[in-house]
């Protein structure tokens, strides 16, 4: 099981306590502080880090170099940026944003295809171009955030998830999908038989001892984890944001057949103690 540093602490996310989240966001108020914390965490022995494509995350990956032996897991898009855009100027403003930032090459190749077919799959490539920093090293993971994944599942466009995976692989990255509905997603991925697409695919979802935000419910997700699959699994929200005892929570996670876990903390000491618990034999 590989252990990855999460990014919630950098951006003020705390499912247990909003004010605590806000305080940690203030600690990480510059890209320097975020990059230093990532480097310090990796030195403790973590296998890599995950970071979102918000303003800070994008800059961190574009500006800083990290230990090349460590994995980078980058998630797109930054949902709040797009939510604000839609709130202020409607759904069509998303399309305008994408076209405004497209390269000439993509306007000619993908933009024209999109205008003729109006199929959303033709804007995936330009979106990746906008959201992925130029300096993100090839071979890194690029994930689709759950708000988009689950919306696509809901509207019945699972084919766009497959198109996303293909585009990520074509760009020389490894694909990842974040979802809060892993069992529903699994049904769509079952039809994906291309080994080139699945060999590095990671599906990231909530799992924790308390069953917090584990959907549809913990028992069913445990059975899903046990099932044979042609892709890798990453557990997130594994500490249910401090809602359960850490020791018991991590012991629970260790017993699961996961390929990755991701967790965060604003304190290096917590990261070290959690890492020690996760890699210990007992």
């Amino acid at each position: 099981m590989k252990i990855i540093l999460g990014d919630n602490q950098f951006f003020g996310v705390n499912h247990f306590d909003l004010s605590k989240g806000q305080k940690t966001k203030e600690i990480f108020n510059s890209t320097d502080k975020i990059a230093n914390f990532i480097n310090d965490s990796l030195e403790l022995g973590l296998d890599g880090f995950m970071i979102n494509s918000n303003d800070f995350g994008f800059k961190v990956l574009d500006k800083y170099q990290f230990d090349t032996s460590k994995e980078i897991h980058y998630s797109i898009p930054y949902p709040h940026k797009y939510a604000a855009m839609v709130n202020e100027n409607g759904l069509l403003s998303l399309g305008k944003h994408v076209f405004k930032h497209m390269s000439l090459f993509n306007i000619i190749t993908q933009g024209i295809k999109f205008l003729f077919t109006r199929n959303f799959k033709h804007i995936i490539r330009p979106i990746l171009e906008i959201e992925i920093p130029k300096n993100l090293k090839k071979g890194s993971y690029v994930y689709l955030q759950n708000i988009v994944t689950d919306l696509l599942i809901g509207i019945g466009r699972e084919d766009l998830l497959i198109a996303f995976i293909k585009e990520v692989v074509n760009k020389g990255f490894k694909p990842g999908i974040i979802t809060l509905n892993p069992i529903v997603l699994d049904k769509s991925l079952n039809s994906l038989n291309d080994i080139l697409l699945t060999e590095n695919l990671v599906v990231c979802f909530n799992i924790n001892k308390g069953g917090f935000n584990v959907f549809p419910e913990k028992n069913e997700v445990e059975k899903f984890i046990d099932k044979d699959k042609n892709y890798k699994l990453m557990g997130m929200s594994i500490l249910s944001s401090g809602g359960a005892e850490i020791f018991e929570s991590l012991n629970y996670i260790k017993a699961l057949d996961l390929d990755y876990v991701v967790f965060g903390s604003s304190k290096l000491s917590n990261i070290k103690s959690n890492l020690d618990l996760l890699i210990s034999e007992t």
Partner: protein
């Protein structure tokens, strides 16, 4: 089951996705007047897209009105005329200027989309405190929703922090206290980014002497995700502080005596998108409609917003 959705913006598409995931046997008809959006969506989403409802003569099992508020009342009348069984209207029903009680169709199932009623912390409070023991309640909604001046109706009287954010908190206060009549004592309003109300503060008192403080601000830069908060003080001095994620309980000497987190109040839903509360709202809508805001309750919210919005004018 046949469902009609008026308007396919952010809320329309969210409800569509959840309903589709909850019930695979729904046939959707979507009325979206915007030509570009309709054209784009009809190529990407499996539903019957219409530019208007002129061809829709047969009644629907459920209709969702997720358009801007200025057209809510007109569309509701059309749903009633067509004989639609159940009608869901996004909040705030017609905006705060809509206070006419003639739209209360007693024999119809009409619900308004105040989704925070389904928040696990709110549900806990509703089940565990008695409204008659409440002395005071503070309601807050803070966000960084507006970063630049909005366009169109979002910069007019059907938008503003009171309509779009405050209505949620007012609905929760009415839901928790069971009070629907308020006297406004003071109001302050500020326009920061939009031409409308971006910051609103108000002091109120209910007919049963519960004092109410409201604080709404949707231009607060340091907020990443919108947060609502309630602070309820009981006759015995116990205080409940609630946000989306936890309830803190303090005794009469302000000592923290208990903390209940959403992580302790586990909720399971068959499909998750944007929050447990959104799925529960749609699931309830497909079933009995229990807990949902009725049209009568939503008009009481509008009436109070109207009082707050026009308070300065009345006292000049």
């Amino acid at each position: 089951m046949r469902i009609l959705i008026y308007g396919f913006g952010r809320m329309g598409i969210t409800h569509f996705a959840i309903l589709k995931a909850l019930n695979q046997n729904i046939k959707f008809t979507i009325v979206e007047p915007n030509f570009i959006l309709r054209n784009l969506l009809s190529k990407n989403i499996n539903a019957n897209f219409q530019k208007d409802d002129s061809q829709l003569d047969t009644s629907f099992d459920l209709t969702l009105i997720t358009t801007p508020p200025f057209i809510h009342v007109e569309l509701l009348k059309r749903c009633i005329a067509r004989g639609d069984d159940k009608i869901f209207i996004e909040k705030p029903f017609g905006g705060f200027s809509n206070i006419q009680t003639e739209y209360i169709y007693e024999n119809k199932q009409i619900y308004i989309g105040y989704v925070y009623r389904f928040n696990p912390c709110v549900e806990w409070i509703k089940s565990n405190i008695h409204p008659k023991d409440i002395v005071s309640i503070k309601g807050q909604f803070l966000s960084n929703t507006l970063t630049k001046k909005p366009e169109g109706w979002r910069n007019g009287k059907f938008s503003g922090v009171l309509n779009e954010m405050g209505s949620h908190v007012i609905d929760l206060i009415q839901y928790i206290t069971n009070e629907h009549e308020f006297n406004v004592l003071s109001v302050s309003k500020e326009s920061v980014i939009s031409d409308n109300d971006d910051i609103v503060k108000a002091e109120l008192i209910t007919n049963n002497d519960i004092s109410v403080l409201l604080d709404f601000n949707w231009v607060k830069k340091e907020i990443r995700k919108p947060i609502f908060g309630l602070e309820i003080i009981m006759k015995d001095g116990v205080c409940y502080v609630i946000d989306q994620q936890q309830i803190k309980i303090y005794d009469d000497k302000e000592n923290l005596v208990n903390k209940i987190s959403v992580t302790n109040i586990n909720e399971t839903v068959p499909f998750y998108l944007r929050g447990v509360d959104f799925t529960k709202q749609m699931d309830t809508l497909l079933k009995s409609g229990e807990k949902m805001t009725t049209i009568k309750e939503s008009l009481a919210v509008n009436k109070l917003m109207n009082q707050i919005y026009n308070y300065e004018n009345n006292t000049r």
